[in-house]
Symmetry: C2
Subunit: 373 residues, 2 copies
């Protein structure tokens, strides 16, 4: 095979790091060599003047991110303009260059964290510059695709891209936690329908993964086993909530699901992050992920909205043998017609009410037949 | 004044405790004596067979409430039937009896907690019966009213009703925390537009107030002052985020607001719960609450949706001198047209991104003129 670019040492994909005309970094990933002629593009835009910073919430004990941006004023693209499709005109360049590659990652233009932020306003609560990074991950050049309908090889590549971004972002001193996620559907606020996700790289471990890490560390210290390992083994022996299991990767509605159609996907082996997965495990994970996504879309024969989060160990320098990488889905529908709104008890109290039993919802998802191509 | 019912010892309102035909408790509150002839009603319904219980989420360290109810099948009311309006026909009784009273409180029919729940399924995570209570508070008999447009005297009465319910529910051994709240608007999932709120009485202190309590206890132990007292004093001296201040009660957008239009209302005096407020403070709180609600509705000249939560000290037997009662609003809009969706970073990470500065949003709310009638 002709290589225009050095493949990643032991990886079976190609990568090119570029810089957009406005200075933002971009990386292209592909199964095939990436032509050197490809140059990064970006939409025309005014300078982005947001001064991202954090302020400490003293009653909840968490950081709040502040980023006020001026909306773009000079850039008036056609109505159907898609900033995530490859550029086709010089007049209206997009975030993606034209050319042969599979997946693109770039720093978000309207970011709520900025690795170069230097100042924070002085307040009576602690503040700090909004250091960190937010990236956009474009799953495919095809705006009509969905993550679940992508070929298995493309989903495998995406898992490797997430692993590579986690390594790259987590390697900096600044970043303590890397959270890849996908918001899918207008129901969760998505306005661009081109298949894409985001990566937030925080300068601290955010509350949700921090709790997960602490719970797993306590359990590991006490039992010398992983908490999620034992959950997997319990779910497997109960079997009523397991919707996919190939012996290496399991998908299930956990006994304690907060959302009716909540699904977790976890490798059997306790690995702290995606990059530790073997190639065989990555292949299995891609199959499990595609299966869950197609079951979701098959359930009501329509695109199924969700938030999908990938939980890996903090990138704070610790080895984190206790942390068990897994994926969680938070779907906003509780029935075909009814959304689950987060209100009084969830937002105000922090206690979720699930009006469905995980056993019943798992049975619904089990019953959806999917064919992996 | 003729009394058909004993007024509450030192209170200036009347109360009658009733029992609905289906066994659920109900209380009526009024500025005027309540006729003994009034009998509690309820809509016709099948037996409610949900078995509410809690399951422990081991990675997040929180209880999740499960309650699966059969939907009512025999009860087919007219399309415009409002279960919170007073009953007008024997054929379709509502939750409220006909008669002269101001505010009604009753146990929710489709409850996610039940004081009489006795069993919980056995699982590999801890489980427990769904003990606790959920109540509906009907703010007025008039379905066309809104909380903000109610007369000040009615809002004062509502504050006293919330205080009375907190006392009554919190006095049981079962209940460790009482959370009154209002979800307002279809944007937060409200389907009944009759002005009403809910009260959740939990058998434990839920995560959000637990964090508040711990943060305030730590601060109080260290500084011998209240955390919220110091926040109030800082916000008052900065003044840019204070939208109402009568010397006794302050309303402000906190420096660390997670929602663009987040507003807190707090009495200057550190009181752990509503019932400790003096009559004068209650009058001031009613004026502050009405002012904030009218500013919200005046902002865009349309009903402003929100979640409003009233945070009081746990009812766990402790005195909680550290706890400073206050009200928090979580409004779902970030601009006139755009909702703030909770997605990747908020739900997946637990870090809120606010794309507006509290100083700016406070200025908008300050500028809205309101007239208290």
């Amino acid at each position: 095979m002709e290589t225009l670019e050095t493949p990643q040492s032991t990886e079976d994909f190609y990568k090119r790091d570029l810089v957009k005309p406005d200075g933002r970094p971009m990386s292209l990933y592909s199964r095939r060599p990436i032509a050197e002629a490809i140059e990064a593009t970006n939409p025309k835009h005014d300078p982005v003047t947001g001064m991202p910073h954090f302020r400490w919430h003293p009653l909840r004990g968490e950081w709040v991110a502040f980023a006020s941006h001026r909306q773009n004023r000079t850039f008036l693209p056609p109505k159907e303009y898609n900033p995530l499709a490859p550029s086709r005109s010089n007049e209206f360049p997009t975030e993606l260059p034209l050319g042969d590659y599979d997946i693109a990652v770039f720093e978000n233009l309207f970011t709520s964290m900025n690795p170069r932020a230097e100042v924070a306003p002085s307040e009576y609560v602690p503040t700090r510059p909004g250091n960190g990074t937010t990236e956009v991950v474009v799953f495919t050049q095809d705006p009509e695709q969905t993550l679940g309908r992508l070929p298995l090889s493309q989903i495998e590549l995406l898992l490797k891209v997430w692993a590579d971004r986690t390594r790259a972002l987590g390697a900096t001193d600044q970043v303590q936690y890397v959270l890849p996620f996908e918001n899918r559907g207008v129901e969760v606020g998505v306005t661009l329908h081109h298949p894409h996700g985001q990566i937030y790289a925080y300068p601290f471990v955010p509350p949700v993964p921090a709790k997960m890490q602490e719970a797993q560390a306590r359990y590991f210290a006490e039992h010398e086993r992983g908490l999620l390992e034992d959950i997997l083994s319990q779910e497997r022996s109960a079997s009523s909530r397991v919707i996919y299991d190939d012996g290496s990767v399991v998908a299930f509605v956990p006994a304690f699901a907060r959302y009716p159609y909540e699904v977790w996907i976890a490798p059997e082996r306790r690995v702290p992050s995606l990059s530790i997965l073997s190639n065989e495990e990555t292949v299995c994970l891609a199959r499990a992920l595609k299966t869950v996504l197609l079951k979701y879309d098959g359930l009501w024969q329509r695109p199924f909205p969700y938030l999908m989060a990938l939980y890996q160990a903090p990138t704070d320098g610790g080895a984190h043998p206790e942390f068990h990488f897994h994926i969680e889905f938070y779907p906003p529908y509780r029935t075909r017609e009814k959304l689950k709104y987060l209100a009084g008890t969830e937002i105000g109290g922090g206690i979720f009410v699930n009006d469905a039993l995980p056993e019943e919802k798992a049975a619904e998802l089990k019953a959806v037949e999917v064919e992996l191509s």
